[in-house]
């Protein structure tokens, strides 16, 4: 189920909310947790029930491993060391991810390299597998190091499946979630949290269905439909996509944070005005923050620790490798590898620059960062190398400078006018206003917030239904 759907907003969210607090009100706290897990699994299965067993097995297995590691010290079992238990756990999670997400990618590369003809598996990627796997890997490592401890299976199941963060993060830590679920104070309806939750949910919904989906019109036209792009079209395409992705993903995160707040749960911040970043290091501290936190703690740090006589250069190699992996985590294709690789290189350059203590004008720094991010996202969006090259060639002015055809595709001109309008609004929002998280700090039940909430919620609902029909008036 998507957050931006009628069934979620009008049925699932209200029903799960009221039953949860009703059970808590009756002091049936175990039942209320059970309800939350049930609701979350229902939410998950709405998409495709076939993969329900997968998430169940994953949760059960990881919990057992953690339990076994915990029990290890007490009972001094000898046939498996704590370390090998961790390795089994990691192997299981990574194996799951590799099998479902990367197998066809590997096979097709082997086929290309060796000229073989091994058949592809054509598995549908199980929803959210990238997210719940990461979250549980973090949990296993934390358990191994004694930083996380979970007694009850139900609590663990709530931690993994809690629906606001299940599908697309934020990627949460056990230690930041469990005290919140345990707190008695959080089991009572809190109107302030509901107001805040509805506010940020509405903003997120608006960002997703009104802003991001409007930018998608140009991004799709440029990336998927056009055969060549001239200078203006190519820049319009790539910047539209950067804005689309930012509003889409941060909007989705806002909805997650909002939905969780209704249940008195505070999810970690995931976006902090990333397009204002004045460096690539700065960018990754603002973009998908919980992913950066994860890869730093669980990929970069172990990698660095594994080096003998660590020095700055070696740390830079680790940074680059970490981002190659992070790139591939986004999806099984060379395009994502390139995306990760580009960011890896940029981070290394940024680090050396920092070390050299050279100064640079803030606006210039922002300009370089934004353009780099914008160009790297071309590889994030392009399905094939040729699509990426098409856009890059246009941006470099290598194609004939012709008319700006996005306005000329038949009756599409009204859509294009809307994109322009949203463009100006977005530039204002992105660069000159407080972001949604900053809006929450010091939130007052003021008329202004009331109007903003009502406006975003209503237009978010109107945006749930859009018309998609294809046009080719070009013949």
């Amino acid at each position: 189920m998507l957050f931006n759907s009628y069934e979620f907003i009008f049925v699932f969210l209200p029903v799960s909310f009221f039953i949860y607090f009703y059970l808590n009100h009756k002091r049936l706290t175990i039942a209320s947790k059970g309800w939350l897990v049930f609701a979350s699994l229902f939410f998950y299965s709405w998409w495709n029930i076939v993969y329900l067993p997968l998430i169940l097995v994953s949760v059960l297995f990881n919990f057992s491993i953690a339990k076994a590691m915990e029990g290890f010290i007490e009972s001094r079992k000898t046939f498996l060391s704590k370390n090998s238990l961790l390795k089994i756990g990691l192997l299981f999670n990574i194996g799951l991810l590799v099998y479902f997400k990367y197998m066809d990618f590997f096979i097709s590369n082997i086929n290309t390299a060796l000229g073989s003809d091994i058949e592809l598996l054509h598995l549908a990627l199980p929803l959210a597998i990238s997210f719940f796997t990461l979250q549980q890997i973090a949990f296993l490592i934390d358990s191994y190091e004694g930083l996380a401890k979970e007694k009850k299976f139900l609590d663990y199941a709530v931690f993994v499946t809690f629906f606001p963060q299940l599908i697309a993060g934020p990627i949460v830590h056990h230690k930041e979630m469990m005290p919140q679920f345990a707190s008695v104070k959080n089991k009572v309806i809190n109107y302030k949290n509901i107001a805040l939750g509805l506010f940020i949910f509405s903003i997120g919904l608006f960002k997703k269905v009104v802003i991001a989906d409007t930018f998608a019109i140009w991004a799709t036209a440029g990336f998927d439909t056009a055969i060549t792009l001239n200078l203006f079209e190519a820049w319009a395409t790539s910047i539209s996509y950067t804005f689309q992705l930012y509003f889409d993903f941060s909007g989705y995160t806002d909805m997650a944070i909002g939905a969780a707040l209704l249940f008195n749960i505070k999810l970690p911040i995931n976006f902090n005005s990333p397009l204002k970043a004045t460096g690539i290091i700065d960018f990754w501290q603002r973009w998908h923050i919980t992913l950066t936190r994860f890869i730093t703690a669980y990929i970069y740090t172990p990698l660095v620790k594994s080096f003998n006589n660590l020095n700055f250069h070696k740390a830079m190699i680790a940074t680059f490798i970490t981002f190659l992996i992070a790139g591939l985590w986004h999806g099984a294709s060379w395009m994502f590898m390139i995306f990760g690789g580009l960011h890896g290189i940029a981070l290394v350059v940024n680090n050396y620059w920092k070390k050299s203590k050279l100064k640079i004008n803030k606006i210039l720094a922002w300009f370089i960062t934004f353009n780099f991010v914008n160009i790297a996202f071309i590889f994030f969006r392009a399905k094939e190398w040729d699509d990426a090259i098409k856009v890059l060639k246009g941006m470099a002015g290598l194609e004939e400078i012709g008319k700006f055809t996005f306005f000329l595709i038949g009756a599409d001109k009204y859509d294009s006018l809307l994109v322009c309008f949203i463009f100006f609004i977005s530039i204002f929002i992105v660069f000159f206003t407080k972001n949604s998280i900053e809006q929450l700090q010091g939130y007052r039940p003021s008329k202004r917030n009331q109007a903003l909430l009502g406006f975003c919620l209503s237009f978010g609902i109107v945006g749930l239904s859009r018309t998609t029909d294809f046009l080719y008036f070009n013949f």
Partner: protein, 359 residues
């Protein structure tokens, strides 16, 4: 009352107010003509959304169903030739299921006496309920009479913005007036050039096309089965169910190059078999007249009639209406085999190098 509780309540009231206003605006302007309460002309753009409203609230006794190839029919020509009141409800790249959806709605409304249906072989490909790849779902809320699902129309962002603006700009400010003119609904021939030049690249495609593998021949049989199943489900069933409605169905005159391409792809025999099947399965129904315009060499071999290998000019649409009026090119027991064999021979005999050498 708790200030936050009041804050939430007021926010909800405010957003409900906006929703009501939006719904009212969409209801009054009604760009998809679902309620027929105003006389604004619709803006002919999103056919899959607009056509059901036209069916519900316009006057007609004849409808034209098909793809972009039927967009250049002029209803007044059809009305004059056949003595009917026709309405064009085509959609670009329409699939058989989409055609069925709009025909079913028209048949349920009981206003339609004649359906003119273009037989596009591509429309039956794939799953029998396939919709066009640009669509996530067909907007079924517009195709039924259930008012409770109309919220998807009344609270629709694109209806509120671009559809309403298009309709108002077209009706009151004369922007792209042509697109709000029902005579010209979905017409595109004025924007296109029809000439031999266009087809050069298709020639290259045919020449470059390597007939893939022999296994294609084996799979042809099951592919044909699927096409037949889709034809039965989406087309034949309606013919059976509505014996009092006349179905004028026709094979459109694609250029000879389109058939050359089929030949190169090893699909020509399959297509001819399908054509045979269409005749055999419809011949016993008296409410069907089947026309086959594909054998007319004067049309299909004159490449100045075409935009690309499949899209012919508006003159050909007019020509077809004349033929339907006269009853020429009718497929019957006497002509079926002649038509099929003649097309096959034409394709075999046509030498694409001749075309290249001429250039």
């Amino acid at each position: 009352m708790n200030t936050y509780k009041k804050h939430i309540r007021n926010s909800f009231i405010f957003s409900l107010l906006i929703l009501v206003i939006v719904a009212l605006i969409n209801f009054i302007i009604d760009p998809y003509k679902q309620y027929g309460l105003n006389s604004l002309n619709p803006y002919f753009k999103n056919a899959r959304y607009l056509n059901p409203g036209l069916i519900k609230n316009y006057n007609y006794d004849t409808i034209i169903v098909g793809t972009s190839n039927s967009a250049n029919f002029l209803t007044k020509e059809i009305d004059k030739a056949l003595g009917v009141k026709s309405l064009k409800v085509i959609s670009t790249g329409s699939t058989a299921f989409e055609n069925k959806s709009i025909m079913s709605l028209a048949l349920r409304k009981e206003k339609v006496k004649v359906i003119i249906l273009e037989l596009d072989p591509l429309s039956w490909q794939g799953d029998k309920k396939r919709i066009h790849k640009s669509m996530t779902t067909l907007p079924t809320y517009l195709y039924d009479d259930n008012i409770f699902n109309d919220y998807q129309y009344l609270l629709n962002f694109d209806v509120l913005y671009s559809e309403n603006i298009s309709a108002i700009a077209g009706n009151f400010f004369g922007f792209q007036e042509k697109n709000t003119n029902i005579e010209l609904a979905y017409y595109w021939a004025d924007k296109a050039t029809f000439s031999e030049e266009n087809l050069l690249s298709y020639i290259k495609n045919i020449k470059a096309y390597k007939s893939p593998i022999d296994s294609k021949k084996i799979s042809n049989n099951s592919e044909l089965q699927l096409l037949k199943q889709s034809f039965d489900f989406n087309t034949l069933q309606l013919i059976k169910d509505y014996p009092n409605t006349k179905f004028i169905i026709f094979h459109p005159p694609y250029s000879i190059l389109a058939f050359k391409m089929l030949e190169a792809e090893n699909q020509l025999d399959m297509y001819l078999n399908l054509k045979k099947y269409i005749y055999e399965s419809t011949k016993k129904y008296e409410n069907v007249s089947l026309y086959d315009f594909q054998i007319e060499k004067n049309i299909t071999h004159d490449l100045d009639n075409y935009l690309d290998d499949r899209h012919y000019s508006n003159l050909i649409n007019n020509w077809m209406i004349e033929q339907i009026e006269k009853g020429t090119y009718l497929v019957n027991q006497d002509t079926i085999d002649i038509y099929i064999n003649s097309l096959k021979t034409q394709v075999q005999k046509y030498d694409i190098n001749m075309f290249i050498n001429k250039k």
